[in-house]
Symmetry: C2
Subunit: 229 residues, 2 copies
């Protein structure tokens, strides 16, 4: 709740990261929707895409309210997130759905992290986002249905999910190295005692722990999709 002197720009970083991530999710879900095999699924996925867009707008507004230039706040995360998308181009509709689940899940972990320590306005926004249930269930249900129809998919999709997380962690490590204040904030929840001069050895260890907890939650999400690690 008291983020300390260096945390404020780090919160801006985090909001910028999430805003650009939501914009990216919007584009990915719009593509999923366009490729969906039925008119009903097209509509359902388009609706989820529009929901991502609304999240992006809320994050952007929050940045403006905090006095930040929202596009400047997003800019440092354009290259790593675009790189993640470029390195994990889905080869089929169901791979794309798995990517949406995995990406949403990681974003959710970051949102929860924000909720722990951010200022009141930001926490309210984050709690609103986290309260929106159902989207994950819908998409993981579509994946389960596909695996049920073709059980041979399970192994391939599990490998794919592992690759998605691996590539995400690899991009995240680069972001953590380039934005030490953000890394410190994520690792310590804004306690700030090791955050003042950016990421020392201790911070990198904490970042590793954060990644560990993301990996743990990943196993739950795989299960929801009917996959295993």
């Amino acid at each position: 709740m008291n983020p300390g002197p260096s945390a404020d720009p780090a919160v801006t970083d985090l909001l910028g990261l999430l805003a650009y991530a939501e914009l990216g999710s919007f584009f990915r879900l719009a593509d999923d929707a366009a490729l969906a095999p039925t008119l009903r699924d097209k509509g359902r996925l388009a609706s989820l895409a529009a929901e991502e867009e609304r999240r992006y707008e809320r994050l952007r507004e929050r940045l403006v309210e905090r006095g930040a230039d929202p596009e400047e706040a997003m800019e440092p995360f354009v290259a790593p997130l675009d790189a993640w998308h470029a390195r994990t181009e889905p080869q089929s509709w169901v791979e794309s759905l798995v990517k949406t689940c995995v990406g949403d899940g990681i974003a959710g972990d970051f949102y929860r992290k924000v909720a722990e320590f951010a200022d009141t306005g930001t926490s309210a926004l984050v709690e609103g986002v986290l309260a929106e249930e159902g989207r994950g269930t819908l998409i993981s249900g579509m994946v389960r249905a596909a695996v049920h129809e073709d059980p041979a998919l399970a192994g391939r999709l599990s490998l794919w999910a592992r690759r998605l997380v691996g590539e995400a962690l690899s991009q995240a490590q680069q972001v953590a190295a380039a934005r030490p204040r953000l890394a410190a904030l994520l690792a310590d929840g804004g306690a700030g005692e090791s955050a003042v001069d950016g990421a020392g050895i201790g911070d990198l260890a904490s970042v590793t722990r954060l990644f560990g907890s993301i990996a743990d939650r990943h196993a739950e999400r795989l299960e929801a999709m009917g996959l295993s690690d």
Copy 2:
């Protein structure tokens, strides 16, 4: 206001047509957003795409309220609308924006037609849609800015806009021939006197008049984009 015995399924047709058209606009605007040169424009266009998606949802809900199967109601319009999109693939971002303007404009003409004669619930929906101003202004402003920067674009984009309307009218003629009740409704505003057995010679003349009024409004929209016919 009294649509007569044959008009009810025609209203379902019209709502199905508009719903699928909005879904298509959503996909097109999402593509425009992905291709936008700046982060700010990406966000602006993504927001317009999400707005189209909400219109699609409202139309779909209205179909459900009227007791229709919404996907069945859209189905007859999938092929002609997809054909329009396939035959008018934009070659650049600004061509895509012009396409959005032209498509929106034609959709607006249809919405206005619906408002004239539909049942109360549907009219309320349509008036809500028509009250959402600003989107056209934003996109035509982007086109104007592009033409201002490169005046040589004006002639090429005017030809492009003409082709877009021409292809739309050609698809619309096929739809009118295949859905005589819808054609009669659009032509007569649901008066119904010539609509009972579908489109006779008189109906085709009325459809031609409707197309004429679409073409008239097209000139206004061109002007808003800084183009001429």
